[in-house]
C-alpha cells in the first residue's frame, strides 16, 4: 500500500507540473498582447509601442518563455499568482476567499447529492419497476435535463417571489445556502442516482445474493451486503463529485450572486483579466488531480482484493 501511495503521488505531481505548463501556455493562445491588455485595463488613453515595451519589461514579459514560466511557477507555489490586470490587487486576495465560498457551497451540495442519490438509489433498486421507482426516475431525469439557470430561476420565482421564504442572492446567513445548494443538488442528483441504482441492481444479480437467500438470511442482512458492495464503487464516484461540482457552480453562482469562484471567473473573463483566469484553472486542475488520487487510494483501501495486492 505504501508503495502504491508513493507511486500515485509521483504521478500526480508530474501531472500537475505538465498542467501548470499548459495553463501558462494558454496565455499565448490569446489574440491580444497581455501588455496591451494591462494598459487598457489601467485606462491608459494613448497606448504607444514604447509604452507596451516598457510595460513588458516591467512585468518581465520580455524574458524567454521558459524563464517566464519558471518565475511564474515558483511564485505560484507560494500562492503568489501575480496581480489582477484590472484592479491591481494580488490575485490570491481575490481568489482565496472566493474559493472558500465556493467550497462551502460545493460541500453542502455534495452532501445533498449523496443523501438524495443513495437514499433513492437504494429504495428504487430494491423496488425496481414499481410506481415509486418509475416516478423518482422520471422526476430526476427531468431535473437533470434542465439547464441550471432555468431551474434556479424557477426556484427563485417560486420560493422567493411567490412564497417570499428565502433570500434570492448573496451570502448572508445559512438560509442563503438553501436555494443555490438545492439547485445544484437537484441538477446533479440524477446522474449519481443512476450510478447508485444500477450498481445496486447489478449487485442484486450476483450469486452471493442468491446464496444468502438460499441460506435463509433475512432481506435486511442481504441488503446491507449489497449496499456494502455498491458503495465501494460509489465512494470513488462521490469523491470525484467534489471537484466536478466545484468547477460547475459558475452559472448558479452568477444567478444567486454568490461571491465565489464562478462569479469571479466570469467577471474576469469579461474583463480579460488573465492572471485570475490562469489561477482559477490551476487551482481547479490541482483539486481535480488531488481528488482523483484520493479517490483511487480510497477505492484501493476499500476493496479487499486490491488492498492485499498493493
Amino acid at each position: 500500500m505504501g508503495a502504491y501511495i508513493i507511486k500515485r503521488a509521483i504521478i500526480s505531481v508530474s501531472l500537475l507540473a505538465i498542467i501548470s505548463f499548459v495553463t501558462y501556455g494558454l496565455n499565448f493562445l490569446s489574440p491580444l498582447e497581455p501588455a496591451q491588455l494591462v494598459l487598457q485595463a489601467q485606462g491608459v488613453p494613448n497606448i504607444t509601442v514604447e509604452l507596451i515595451a516598457e510595460t513588458k519589461a516591467s512585468l518581465g514579459m520580455d524574458q524567454p518563455f521558459l524563464v517566464q514560466y519558471f518565475d511564474w511557477l515558483t511564485s505560484c507555489l507560494q500562492l503568489n499568482f501575480g496581480n489582477s490586470y484590472v484592479s491591481g490587487k494580488p490575485v490570491w486576495s481575490l481568489l482565496g476567499p472566493a474559493l472558500l465560498h465556493t467550497l462551502q457551497l460545493t460541500l453542502v451540495s455534495v452532501a445533498g447529492i449523496i443523501l438524495l442519490s443513495i437514499g433513492f438509489g437504494v429504495i428504487c433498486a430494491l423496488r425496481e419497476g414499481d410506481l415509486l421507482d418509475k416516478s423518482v426516475r422520471g422526476v430526476l431525469f427531468v431535473l437533470a435535463s434542465m439547464p441550471a439557470y432555468l431551474l434556479a430561476t424557477l426556484m427563485i420565482w417560486y420560493f422567493s417571489v411567490q412564497l417570499d421564504l428565502l433570500p434570492t442572492s448573496g451570502m448572508t446567513s445559512y438560509r442563503s445556502y438553501l436555494l443555490p445548494a438545492l439547485v445544484i443538488t437537484l441538477n446533479y442528483a440524477g446522474i449519481y442516482f443512476r450510478i447508485i441504482r444500477s450498481s445496486m441492481l447489478s449487485q442484486l444479480n450476483e450469486d452471493y445474493v442468491l446464496y444468502g437467500r438460499a441460506c435463509g438470511l433475512p432481506e435486511r442482512t442481504i441488503t446491507l451486503h449489497i449496499l456494502r458492495n455498491s458503495l465501494q464503487v460509489a465512494v470513488s464516484v462521490f469523491c470525484m463529485a467534489i471537484p466536478t461540482i466545484l468547477g460547475s457552480t459558475v452559472v448558479v453562482e452568477n444567478i444567486f450572486a454568490w461571491p465565489g469562484l464562478g462569479t469571479l471567473t466570469v467577471n474576469s473573463i469579461l474583463g480579460r483579466d488573465f492572471p485570475i483566469i490562469q489561477a482559477y484553472v490551476l487551482v481547479l486542475a490541482a483539486a481535480f488531480v488531488l481528488f482523483n488520487m484520493l479517490s483511487d487510494l480510497l477505492g484501493a483501501a476499500l476493496n479487499p482484493k486490491l488492498r492485499k495486492e498493493l
Partner: protein, 297 residues
Amino acid sequence: MNLIKNMWKDKLAALSLTVIAAIVLAGVFAPWLAPHDPHEVDMELRYAAPSWAYLLGNDHLGRCIMSRLIYGIRPSVLWVLAALAASVGFGGILGLIAGYFRGITDACLMRVCDVMLSFPGYVMSLAIVGILGPGLENMMIAFVLAKWAWFARMIRTSVMQYAESDYVKFSKAIGVSDTRIIMKQIVPVALPDIAVVSSSSFASMILQISGFSFLGLGVQAPHAEWGMMLNEARSVMFSRPELMLAPGLAIVIVVMAVNFLSDALQAALDPKLLRSKPQPQRQEFSRTAKLRGEEVA
C-alpha cells in the same frame, strides 16, 4: 439498419428522434419558417401578449419571440451539433490511429489525453473562452479543444477491442492493407459505439453551451439564442415570468429528447440493458432457443 429498426420499436425513442429531426429541420429552414425578422425591434409591441401575428408574444424590445425561438435553434442546437461533430471527428481519428497502430503513437497520444482529461472539461472550456474572448466561434473552439481528448480515449478503447479480434488478425496475416482494414472492418463496427458516446455528451454540451450564452460568454446580442433569451427574461422575472417559458421549455424538450435517444441507442446496441435484471439461466435459455430456431430454418 437493424439498429434503427430496433429503436423504432421503442415508442419513446421514435418520438424523440422525430422531435430532434423536426427541430433540426426548423433550424435549417429558419428564414422560411419564422414569421418575422428576429432582430426587428418594435417598441410599441413591448411585452405584447400572444396574438395571431405573434404566436408567442413579444419580448422587452418588442421582438417576435416565436421567430427568435426558431432562429435560436441555430446556435443552441445546430452549432452544438457541429462542435460535437468536430470534436468527435478529431478525437475519433486520433483514437482510431492510437487504438489500431498502438506502440509509441498510442503512448504519446494517450499521455496528451491524460493531461487534457485531468482538467475538468467545463473549466477547460471556460479558460479557453476566457483567453480567446467571448463569442460563438471562440466558444465552439473551446468546446472542441476541451472535448476531443475524451472522445479519443473512448473511441480508442472501442477500436482496440475490435483490432484484436480474429478476423482483423486474419486480414493482417493475408496482407490486407491497414487503410483497407480500418475502413472496411474497424470503422463500421466501431461506429455504433461512437454514436453512443457522442449522443450521450450531446445533451450535456447543449446545456453547457446555452449556459455560457446565458452568462454572456457565448452568442452576443442581438442574435437569438435560447440561453440568452432566458437571461433577458430573467431581468423581468418578477413582473413577467411567462417570458421564461418558451426558451426554457425548448431547451428542456431538446435535452430530454437527446437523453432518451441516447438511452435507446445504448439499449438497442446492447440488448442486455433492455432488461435491467438479466438472469444468467434465462439468457442461456434464450440463446439455445435461438440456436435451435436457426437449425430449423
